[in-house]
């Protein structure tokens, strides 16, 4: 699913060693993205069409035993469906009918494909069209795949956002240039960015996904798309197909990344350098102030990243350049060389990036390197801690507002906390 740009796109001059590895992977599948997406689009509902494993994954991985009813559920395929005793499309219609009856506030329903639904070739695209016709105009139905055979963790968000693009309103051909910020951000971060763009007199600025299903932004040939997340290959391609132009930029993690990211937008809108400096001065000063105490804790600390969310490279760049950490190995599930070109150029020479995973071999390397901090998934964290390695479990980086100037300190703190904790504990 991920656009796999050819190695030739990569400029080896920046001195980063990229290796590819295949083998056992310890990563989430794309269904996991539902955990934050269902909060982001407030009147959307995510119906996974899958197995008990899918339901169990979301429930366990997400840890969202939420007080009220969540806006996601699983239509569990059973043996009657597989044996053909029940017509699966009829069954799906019945389940969706029951759901809509129970949750009349749903405006947008995503049918989310899973490994089983992909393997049995259940056509959820067609089902979505059929159900959309039946339920329109009250409910719009879209589909995307969050299956583990096709998506890794954050690629689920990519697939979800890409599924929204074809139905986004068309922006007039003669419309003034508009900025489209792409990728789910915490509302607080989104609001901060909106204020900075306003100070830069960049308008209109819109966000994908919008907070409500009926408010998805328009797109057209004068749309400038600025990716807020590094894992949006399919979404970017779909936007480009609708005429949008993608701005190249680093990602807004840390002060430097945020400045670079804002600068890409400012340059595209011909914002005067003085104005840019004025609009970003306060934020970057606050970020600098917030980062200072963590620099002492993280400088020269050796950090090892296991592959997880595709955020690894921007995070490693932040740790290395703004906090002085040393990078032992950066694992990443996929490397989109085009979208990450600016980030790769900022990494120190000689950095090792491993794309893909061979879990046992990677754990051996990690043990041998004895890094000061290991960034890894929930399944690996405690076993590595038990071996004496300090770890930061990486899923938190998706559930916490970390982008922008005013979160730079929070982001550094997430990495410093495991180290600080070790100095506190006397047991």
């Amino acid at each position: 699913m991920n656009a796999h740009a050819k190695l030739g796109n990569f400029d080896p001059a920046c001195g980063v060693e990229i290796r590819q590895e295949r083998g056992q992977r310890a990563v989430f599948c794309g269904l996991t993205g539902i955990v934050w997406l269902h909060r982001k689009i407030q009147d959307a509902f995510f119906l996974v069409v899958g197995s008990r494993t899918c339901a169990h994954l979301i429930q366990s991985a997400a840890g969202v035993m939420i007080f009220a009813e969540p806006r996601f559920a699983t239509a569990i395929i059973d043996e009657r469906d597989l044996a053909g005793i029940a017509d699966m499309n009829d069954e799906l219609d019945r389940v969706v009918g029951r759901l809509i009856e129970r949750r009349p506030e749903i405006k947008l329903l995503f049918l989310v494909g899973s490994c089983p639904s992909e393997v049995i070739k259940l056509d959820l695209g067609r089902a979505a069209q059929r159900l959309s016709r039946e339920l329109s105009p009250q409910v719009r139905v879209l589909s995307y795949s969050g299956s583990g055979i096709e998506t890794t963790f954050t690629q689920g968000e990519d697939a979800c956002l890409a599924s929204l693009v074809p139905s986004m309103p068309a922006e007039a051909k003669d419309a003034a240039p508009s900025l489209l910020v792409v990728g789910a951000l915490a509302d607080v971060v989104e609001d901060q960015f909106a204020r900075i763009f306003a100070e830069l007199s960049i308008a209109p600025v819109r966000f994908l996904p919008a907070r409500r299903a009926g408010e998805m932004p328009p797109v057209g040939p004068n749309t400038l798309a600025l990716l807020a997340q590094p894992f949006l290959a399919d979404t970017a391609r779909a936007l480009e197909e609708r005429g949008a132009t993608r701005l190249t930029a680093p990602f807004p993690l840390g002060a430097e990344g945020t400045t670079g990211w804002l600068k890409a937008a400012a340059d595209a809108f011909d914002v005067a350098p003085a104005r840019f400096a004025a609009a970003t001065a306060a934020g970057s000063r606050r970020a600098e102030q917030a980062l200072a105490p963590y620099r002492a804790m993280l400088a020269r600390r050796r950090v090892f990243f296991f592959p997880d969310s595709q955020l690894e490279i921007p995070l490693a760049r932040f740790l290395s350049r703004e906090l002085g950490a040393e990078l032992v190995e950066i694992g990443t599930p996929y490397l989109h060389r085009g979208h990450l070109a600016d980030e790769l150029a900022l990494l120190p020479r000689g950095t090792t990036i491993v794309e893909g995973q061979d879990l046992d071999a990677q754990m051996d390397r990690c043990r041998a390197a004895r890094p000061d901090l290991t960034v890894c998934g929930l399944g690996l964290a405690n076993p590595l801690e038990a071996e004496g390695l300090a770890t930061k479990w990486s899923i938190e980086l998706l559930f916490t507002p970390i982008q922008g100037y005013d979160q730079a300190g929070d982001l550094a703190e997430l990495f410093a906390r495991p180290l600080v904790r070790r100095t506190r504990l006397e047991v």
């Binding site: 699913m1 056992q24 992977r25 990563v27 989430f28 599948c29 996991t32 909060r39 982001k40 197995s51 008990r52 494993t53 169990h56 994954l57 429930q59 366990s60 991985a61 997400a62 840890g63 969202v64 035993m65 939420i66 007080f67 009220a68 009813e69 806006r71 559920a73 699983t74 239509a75 569990i76 395929i77 059973d78 043996e79 029940a86 699966m88 069954e91 389940v95 759901l99 506030e105 490994c115 089983p116 393997v119 049995i120 299956s147 583990g148 055979i149 915490a186 509302d187 607080v188 046992d360 998934g377 399944g379 690996l380 964290a381 405690n382 076993p383 038990a386 559930f399 916490t400 507002p401």
Partner: protein
Amino acid sequence: MQLTIWTYEGPPHIGAMRVATAMRGLHYVLHAPQGDTYADLLFTMIERRDARPPVTYTTFQARDLGADTAAIFKNAVEAAYERFRPEAMIVGASCTAELIQDDPGGLAKALALPIPVIPLDLPSYQKKENWGASETFYRLVRTLAVPVKPTAPRETRRPLCNILGPTALGFRHRDDLVEIRSLLGRLGIDMNVVAPLGATPADLGRLGEADFNVVLYPEIARAAGQHLHKTFGQPMVETVPIGVQATIRFVEEVAALAGIDPAPVLDGAPSRLPWYSRSVDSTYLTGKRVFVFGDATHALAAARVASTELGFKIVGLGTYTREFAREIRAEAALHGIEALVTDDYLDVEAAIQASAAELVLGTQMERHIAKRLGLPCAVISAPIHVQDFPARHSPQMGFEGANVLFDTWVHPLMMGLEEHLLGMFREDNEFHADAAPSHLGPGHQPVPPPFAGEGGPRVSEGRERGAPSPERSPPLPPAPQAPSPAEGGGSSSSAQSIWAPDAEKELRKIPFFVRGKARANTERFARERELPLITVETLYDAKAHFGR
């Protein structure tokens, strides 16, 4: 196709993982797509295990489907054997790999490894976690347990038994095992093998040496116990020692099988529960309405303990373990109620609401339901939660387990005198109609902690950080507003009565923990008599009518 929001059990291969992870020297190669590795975190985060489960996943992807997933599986088996050098292996498929029909068992056999390789056939689209654990343990025992020469003649040695059932990720299995070992030890019985928890494949080979088997969790170990009974003639004790009476019965049965005197263990007052229950402060427990839901083992035990050892009234009993529906139905019949056998938590929620329970003994799922309904709750069963692995020793089984049950079930309830004060001074500003019970925290609405930020998975009950808006709650009975239509206890009703304002006001003077019941009873009373208006008189007529 079944619409599911939360599940009580995982898929069957999770059950197999619970057995494999409990054991030593066993490795599980699971043919599964990328993403199924989430299961590791159940063990490393929820149970806080210090090592990865002994599981190798093939983690195939879409691009592999057109190529050779069978080769990926074979390579994974070989690599796992080379790296981990297990004494035995189990191999199988998760739900997706089941569909591509690569035959893991056959592929692994073709490799002719020099160790036992046991194929597991766990139908993911029919069965669930506990069944998967049971089947896995049974297959292991059937393959590995071999006839052994009798040890020394019975007369010349102490009796010897196996303990079957405890697994990884089991609800208090760790602590139950400590209690049971200690009980059996004090009886003078030696342990041959405890399995699966802590056992090696070689240990399973020695199962036949024991004089008898103790099956602690029938969901997991009954099949294996029955096999051993049939094959080696080993009798099996299947009384689950949860509660004082069940523990006494368990000790007596074990002692009878071992041919020893149970008196040394049973003499005196091995549990504080009986005296605490007879102590006069416990009179307020009398007839408290309790709703019980959980796996079959724990739900059955809870119903018995709650009714006969604490004096509660069972107003609801159910399980998500369909395999044990018969036992649950029989127990429910003893309490004059109909059992609820379902794995749909919405059904359970409706049943709790309809039962007008005053205490819920359930799973983490029911804990959430109870919170929403403002009811006290204690957790008695899996699905497992990080809070179910307390740092302290907290068994459910044995005499100490009975003490734990008394504390954990009674503490969520209001103390007796507090209840009287509330009844006498209903207009006190802390006791008023909308005041939340102090012991349930500040109000029924949970304070959202930062999502997952502090405690790990499945500890957060709140919304994630930056959540845009409060989640809409499902329909609840309307807040009292006079006059309001009566809804007939949640179910649809043809004739609806209207509450007169003064009756509504009087209702609000009734303490919150019985108000729901008073409302439901009054409305039922009015409905049965086709009274269009509920007055203060109706309220007290209904009270007299339903008074216990």
